[in-house]
Symmetry: C2
Subunit: 629 residues, 2 copies
């Protein structure tokens, strides 16, 4: 086992090791701006919404500090926990008395609400008698809320050093451990999340019972018994077959990928091959059959679920923002397990597209659902009755630092490019310091300065995104030998302080096609540049309806237009296509081919905008997959 | 007002008049076979299923003849009523002691179950106290079941002359009239059906209170208050706006079109223009935005509902068999209101495609859902937990006779072509008799012999289907002058007994396109011939996967191959296309266009089968919209 100086728990079975919370400081560029908006706009907005939605009042009522009815969803407490997790990551970056006061106030409420035996769940505490706890786990989200409390507690402890929330979490976890287990309640939660959270709690506290309890919940799943209302079958809950036997991502997408994240965490600690095999099969099913080009997950509105293979409608696609987050969480763990670039590549794709579309430029409104075709309107909302997404967005943006860099013996890996200072302790090398500068995702140049070389001899591994076929790398302005090894450029040398590596990732616009089995993308093209998926938005066309009417000429030349003045900075892309005369279609849904195939058409310019930025200038039609000529 | 000799009630505002139940005898050909299967296979199978599913037991328990719990859906009684309606139509055609015994036994149970005050609903009678009746109309289907009882009662009375079931129905209707109305319970049912049924009951009995009650229920709808479980909004129930203000078909497709059928019935009696205007707007929304090429209705599985305009996914399309039936019911009323061919054309399209796919060739298994693309498997079932579709199929096939012919002053209209003897009383002409012979839908020749000319001078109007651009008509083997007037060929003359009209409707295969806003049909073609939509089915291709892989050459010649030996008689169509080499797509969902656009491909023969016949030879992939070259 590797020992990381100054590092917390190191999982036995990880190839790549995460850095401590504050090791990477995102200090410039795209993500610096996003983190600033998240800190200064989203977090205060979120706290106000916790108050307005009753989430904080629920805790007050549970604590006996106030009277009244429970408000909101049965899992309303989790909004508070996710917000606390996000705020903790921000406190780790820099103190802010106002934010700290809100954090402490929220923890005060949680502490006051916690019962003698460690139990906390305001919905149950207010609505039910104590003996009704844990009686409807498939549906009632008690363990789901506990999981978010544990994640918040670990984040808060790492960020502040305070054990206050961690102790609350441990008391609750200890209580759960008395209730669930072999010979006790033998059942898994309906909504996953507690598994990965218990493992994090184990990592933070060293309490092996928490790891065992996580494993117990993972093993309990798959008895084919969970049902809900009239509609939800066991596969909705990933309960159709035992987790190790499942070849599919199925059912509710967030649950499915919180589960696979927990399974990957369990593998990281136990190295059980059957878990990893199942994860590989399910990842294959996801990426080969059930993933949108934005990284989005979940084809179906009704049960927020994965569909059948190739069921990826653009208009009714669900792509819940939380599912994008869950996918990033899963892929982050797979990356540490395997060291393989494809997981970092999918984190990148999801981050810049299916995830980031979930939040407005000002950080105060959110999409719950992220379709790839909107014919009329789709508007971000300040909050939701089921408000899982907004604070989930906040915790991901606030903790983005963790996804950039990992280390292993004698090696540092850069997976994501952003303007950042990196202070890493490379095993068997010692502390190094690097500065990364880039205008990513708008430009493909990344400049890395090695400020502090440690013991000098070590390897630097730079990920080459799967969209880039011709990376160029230089050292101090000169060509340098770098091996391209499984999508990473490997630079192994004795570093000198002040060495500058320049990586060029050319970002030519490129046209993508979807698998021919996907009905809604047939005969259509998606435009990408760098890590960004583009779309047509009504406001950028002479007439909004062009979004729905136009065809793209696949042989068009594209013009790339940096627009620092627009959308807080963007790069637009223009190309040419055709506008058919659709008058023959008026009041018709079906026409003979010989009529429909000879419609006159005229050339038209089409202007594309990054998908994640759409819907920030009013609403109207939008599409990712543009029909071809 | 027209008086039809020997006819029952004639609605004040109908342009075309229906004939009595037994006026049209389907005596040969396609529909004769379907009616025989329905009578000899489906009806006995259905009765057995009523027993097995508990539907009959529920009535026994409600009657106190048996003890036990209610089984099945809260609207389980309606299965019995729909079966009774179907069986009654068959008894009208010819007696069958075994069938008559089952009908009488079912009526005995209903009579025994009916309470003193007229109320019948086994679910409420068994599960609830009497005072809980009518307390949850949005959800509990008490009025929906009543409606099906009324329809069955009218059919049984018309078929047999017996008032037994009709009296039961009237007692229940009278009871409902004491409960609902201005100053009484002022609410509409959550699931429509009672409106059209009350109007039928009014027509059969002359009791004006039933018409008034139907109007009351129609007027009550649209308060934007109905909700169900966590999911269903007022538009699910067509309760978003008052019915006369609605421009959309929206929500649950069957409810929506049982409602429009009831509205059309109300217009037929009252002539209220606002109702007709709303019907025209909603019909336009349906046929211009929300209808599958099969006539299928309902894009969404979750709430069995219409989607947004152009939301017509082929794989996850719902197209409930009952929704096809509801559409036929609505269009049949619109046809009588307006006399316009487009309604008869849509009946034809729906009947031969989206409806008929709902039942197997042997009449003993059923599709609830009728998608246009199946990638793996979709299998007809003997019955369903929610068994609305099977007995609905039975009553439509058994009553198909009514849709063929109508009359008006001095005129007889033929809307649908089938081998049939027609004994019609043409107003101001008197009784005429015609014999129609045709191999429709396989061949486009229709031969009509005028056996009995009545007073001699009258007009014959023959519908020219919208798919036929070059109809030919002859009289006694000679060209005859016939005006093509709004899609009807009009022959006005002094008929001679023995006159033979021969109508030729050439049935060349034709390729259809869907509106470019429909994502899932983009770049794809549907093959039609005559009234039939065709599809590719796995079993007819060298490899089943060709269904998903092949592209159709839009310039292919088609070979039409009559196959009396296959599928109880069919016409297959073969054409050519291409089979691309998809190996570049292995494990990939997205590829650069420059890779995906140069896949090698080889020519392949593609064999099409009528959509309504698919899934009768095992299961496997099927598709209607075939990607183009």
């Amino acid at each position: 086992m590797v020992t990381l100086p100054g590092q917390m728990h190191v999982s036995h079975f990880e190839r790549l090791h995460a850095l401590p919370l504050t090791a990477v400081d995102i200090q410039a560029g795209f993500w610096k701006d996003k983190q600033a908006v998240n800190r200064h706009n989203s977090l205060p907005h979120g706290f106000a919404m916790l108050e307005e939605s009753g989430a904080l009042d629920n805790l007050r009522i549970a604590a006996g500090m106030k009277s009244g009815e429970h408000r909101g969803m049965r899992f309303q407490d989790s909004d508070v926990y996710k917000w606390l997790e996000a705020a903790s990551y921000e406190l780790a970056k820099a103190d802010d008395p106002a934010l700290r006061q809100q954090v402490d106030a929220a923890i005060d409420l949680i502490a006051a609400a916690q019962m003698e035996d460690g139990y906390i769940n305001s919905y149950y505490q207010i609505k039910f008698k104590p003996e009704n706890r844990w009686t409807n786990e498939a549906h009632d989200h008690e363990l789901y809320c506990a999981g978010h409390l544990f994640e918040a507690a670990v984040a808060h402890h790492r960020a502040t050093g305070s054990r206050r929330l961690l102790d609350i979490a441990c008391r609750f976890a200890d209580h759960i451990d008395t209730v669930f287990g072999k010979g006790k309640r033998e059942e898994a939660p309906g909504h996953q999340g507690v598994e990965l959270a218990l493992i994090e709690l184990y990592r933070e506290t060293g309490e092996i019972r928490y790891l065992a309890l996580a494993e117990f919940f993972i093993n309990e799943r798959g008895k084919n018994t969970m049902k809900g209302w009239a509609y939800f079958s066991p596969s909705y809950y990933q309960d159709r077959v035992p987790v190790r036997d499942n070849d599919r991502v199925e059912g509710h997408a967030v649950r499915a990928m919180y589960l696979t994240s927990g399974m990957a965490d369990l593998y990281l600690e136990t190295g059980e091959q059957a878990l990893l095999d199942a994860l590989h099969r399910q990842w294959h099913d996801f990426t080969s059959h059930k993933m949108y080009i934005t990284g989005g997950a979940g084809a179906r509105h009704f049960d927020e679920a994965f569909g059948e293979p190739y069921e990826l409608p653009d208009d009714t696609g669900y792509c819940e923002t939380c599912a994008a987050i869950a996918s990033i969480m899963w892929n982050w763990r797979m990356l540490r397990v395997t060291g393989e670039a494809r997981y970092a590549a999918l984190i990148e794709r999801t981050l810049y597209n299916g995830f980031l579309s979930g939040v407005s430029l000002d950080g105060r409104t959110f999409f719950y659902v992220n379709p790839l075709l909107v014919r009329e309107a789709h508007v971000r909302q300040p909050w939701f009755q089921c408000a899982c997404c907004p604070p989930n967005v906040m915790r991901l943006i606030a903790s983005l630092n963790r996804y950039l860099v990992t280390v292993s013996v004698g090696e540092l890996q850069v997976h994501q490019y952003a303007g950042a200072a990196i202070a890493a302790d490379i095993p068997e090398v010692g502390p190094v310091h690097l500065t990364m500068e880039t205008a990513y995702p708008w430009e493909g140049t990344v400049r890395i300065t090695v400020d502090d070389v440690g013991s000098g001899d070590w390897r630097l591994r730079l990920r080459v995104p799967d969209w880039c076929s011709a990376p160029r790398v230089q050292l101090n302005g000169q060509p340098v030998e770098a091996v391209l090894e499984e999508s990473y450029l490997l630079l192994a040398r004795r570093w000198q302080s002040g060495d500058v590596i320049t990586l060029e990732l050319p970002m030519a616009p490129r046209l993508m096609r979807a698998h021919p089995y996907v009905s809604s993308s047939r005969g259509a093209l998606a435009l990408e540049r760098g890590p960004l998926v583009y779309c047509l938005e009504g406001i950028d066309q002479p007439e909004a309806a062009h979004v729905l009417q136009a065809q793209l000429d696949p042989n068009t030349a594209f013009e790339v237009e940096p627009r620092p003045d627009l959308l807080g900075g963007t790069v637009l892309i223009s190309g040419y296509g055709f506008l058919p005369d659709l008058s023959a279609w008026e009041n018709r849904l079906y026409l003979p081919h010989h009529v429909a195939s000879v419609l006159p058409r005229r050339p038209v310019e089409l202007r594309f905008v990054p998908y994640h930025q759409w819907g920030n200038r009013g609403t109207g039609p939008m599409r990712v997959w543009v029909p071809m000529d």
